[in-house]
């Protein structure tokens, strides 16, 4: 389970280039372990979504069913109206669809050199101005907010800000761990 131990020791440092360090891997062969380093100069780089994202009743229903959440405000417009919403609302983690799309664009950026197969989700947050709802047309921009190296792993922090009609709806924060070799 060693690759998943996210309780990193303090002593983080910002990496500017890949370095090789010996003896940090706990493997039986005690091989050299390659530190994953992401260039910190990319902090602040932005990745706008190529097109607006339309939130639909059908997609909200599909997502709610996939998480086995049968709350009627996600599928029944009348129940949603009774709860004070103009249409069905989306579950709190629904905006991950926007965050995933944004992070996929960032992770695919060849400048970053991230190996997607070694990416593990470290943490996730959502800050809402209001719930997403059917009918929303969201524009999203994903930004690299932090880059660091901890315990041989690269850590890439991204933030996706989604707006509708120029008004903030949700900010999704995501920290991705790129596991060392």
């Amino acid at each position: 389970m060693a690759p998943f131990d996210l309780d990193f020791q303090p002593g983080e440092r910002t990496a500017r280039r890949a370095v090789r360090v010996s003896g940090t891997g706990p493997g039986p062969e005690d091989q050299e372990r390659e530190t994953v380093a992401i260039n910190a100069e990319y902090v602040g780089r932005e990745y706008p979504a190529p097109e607006p994202y339309e939130v639909t009743r059908g997609k909200i229903r599909e997502f709610a069913e996939a998480i086995n959440d049968h709350n009627p405000v996600y599928v029944d417009p009348e129940a949603a109206k009774a709860a004070g919403h103009p249409d069905v609302i989306a579950p709190p983690t629904f905006p991950v669809i926007l965050g995933m799309a944004g992070s996929a664009i960032a992770v695919a950026d060849p400048d970053l050199g991230v190996d997607f197969s070694r990416v593990v989700h470290g943490d996730q947050s959502f800050h809402y101005s209001r719930p997403l709802r059917a009918g929303d047309v969201l524009t999203a921009v994903t930004r690299i907010t932090d880059v660091k190296t901890l315990g041989g792993n690269g850590m890439l922090t991204l933030e996706t800000v989604a707006e509708a009609d120029g008004e903030h709806v949700v900010t999704a924060g995501m920290m991705l761990v790129v596991r060392g070799e």
Binding site: M1, P3, F4, L6, D7, E62, F63, E65, A66, I67, N68, D69, N71, V73, Y74, A83, G84, H85, I89, P91, P92, T93, V96, I97, M100, A101, F116, S117, R118, V119, V120, H121, G122, D123, Q124, S125, F126, H127, Y128, R130, P131, G173, R179
Partner: protein, 119 residues
């Protein structure tokens, strides 16, 4: 029934819940979320990158943990902040006797939730 702000004290514990996680859940979540990373459905691939087996999407676990919050408050639209730290993977072997994804406060695979809600 919606929970009122005045009825809640700092330190109150939400009711513990247990959620079943099966391969089927991961396949369906992959489709709904758009996260088709093969570590969530392909055992050969998962093992080839050093994982013990297929693991659940962190966001699936976060969604299940979120149900603890929204079912408790009774108002799914009042969540203002919701954040988690993924501290251990939820390994999902290829059987129907699936492991359980515990809600906050249990040992083993765990998610720390820091929700804040309105009302």
């Amino acid at each position: 029934m919606t929970l009122r702000h005045a009825d809640v004290e700092v330190g109150a514990e939400l009711p513990e819940r247990t959620f079943r996680v099966r391969r089927l859940d991961l396949v369906r979540y992959a489709g709904a979320s758009g996260d088709f990373n093969p570590i969530h459905w392909n055992e050969r691939f998962a093992k080839s990158v050093g994982l013990p087996d297929v693991i659940a999407h962190g966001m699936f676990t976060m969604a299940e943990a979120g149900r603890v919050l929204t079912d408790w408050t009774g108002d799914a639209g009042c969540v203002v902040d919701y954040s988690v730290r993924f501290s251990a993977p939820v390994v999902v072997p290829d059987d129907d006797e699936a492991p359980r994804s515990p809600s906050a406060g249990r040992s083993g695979p765990r998610t720390t939730t820091e929700p804040s809600a309105c009302s």
